[in-house]
Symmetry: C2
Subunit: 223 residues, 2 copies
Amino acid sequence: MYVTISTDTAAGVHPIPQSAGHPRARTRIAEGAYLFFEGDEVDNLYLIESGSVRLTRVLEDGRRQIIAFGFPGDIIGFPAEGLYNTDCDALRDAVLRPIPRRLLEDGSADPALHKALMAAALREISGMQDHFMMLGRKSASEKVASFLGALSERVGTRGAGAPEITLPMGRADIADFLGLTTETVSRCFSALRKSGVIRLRGIHTVEILAADALAQRAQSQLN
Amino acid sequence: MYVTISTDTAAGVHPIPQSAGHPRARTRIAEGAYLFFEGDEVDNLYLIESGSVRLTRVLEDGRRQIIAFGFPGDIIGFPAEGLYNTDCDALRDAVLRPIPRRLLEDGSADPALHKALMAAALREISGMQDHFMMLGRKSASEKVASFLGALSERVGTRGAGAPEITLPMGRADIADFLGLTTETVSRCFSALRKSGVIRLRGIHTVEILAADALAQRAQSQLN
DNA sequence: GCATTATGTATCGTTTTGTAACCGGGCCCC
DNA sequence: GGGGCCCGGTTACAAAACGATACATAATGC
């Protein structure tokens, strides 16, 4: 997941067909467990069916960048020269459907599968392009507002009252995804809370009290 | 082009087969001319055969992000919901081979073409992931050093002396690609010049005098 | 040759980061 | 069951990095 406001429900349009590997095969990873590591050879891509994951890269000096968060409907594990380009671990217990890599690269496989995988790759590219604008041009408060808005759309729930998000990731993860520090993320949350845009229920649940104000602070409108 | 040090020569491994549209069809765009605009319906993707282009997005308030530079071997114009997601104009006169979009999405087209296009999409994703680390975690000087290093590898030439790059883009473009301001880019260039890492010949030609020092300043090594 | 645009440089202001302290919750051990 | 420790989050203050502003110089296009 990158930060877009226009995100469609992932994978809805091009469902992964049954030919994508054994149709009953599932991989389960417990919260905190690793699914794959950067540099490992790609055996499978994975369609996330439930739970959430993060894709991570780290520089030699420990600087970390969250490349993406993955939620149900996302396909993860796109190969770079046949290798995984990031680490992947579960933020919450996850169930994933493996898609053998050879099906990705075998030109004679099921055409519907090819179509679905190409659509997934195109969605990935599109979302990443959006994320560049955020990382390159937005201020800290714009970034956090964008992030919360997109997350609300993607995985938010609407209970009896305001829409809300239960964050599977901590402030440090959000910071490393947005190119900020943990403290700055916390400061932005506090500012949004003080101005009545959000309410925090514990650390992990955010209620969106004023979605319009949040969108305005996200400066998400492109010309 | 994003900023990676490990970039392979684009498209070399999976050449675009003859089935990718009319094999003799070529689109020519003059320097400064637009190839497509954000929001237009995608008729074709394009393989750049010569010249260079930039992909651009702009926020309502004028803040601009260069999403990518394109050089020979790059495929550009990946659709987002059937539409172009960026503007594209030529930095230098360019010759491009059009690849009809329907071939991308038609699951029954030539398998070799599918393989080539999927490989191109995967390369794009990989490069973009690298670019996230740069935008999100590197300092201004690291960014500029990374950029020059990658550009040197990708389109640099080695004459009688030091390897050199003839930049098709100005400082403002570099800035908008790296998430910096023009002035900051200029300062970084000056700092590299003063420390003997590069020499500038006019504004557009950069000689790399100390490639090791440049790589060190790029902090490009991943663990 | 002139006007316009791009680039380089200095100075100051703003934003974010860095550092430190504090708080609360969860977990583990006695 | 309680105490201690650890971890994540919040907040205040100081410092650093970069952006904003201003101006001078160089390059480009007509």
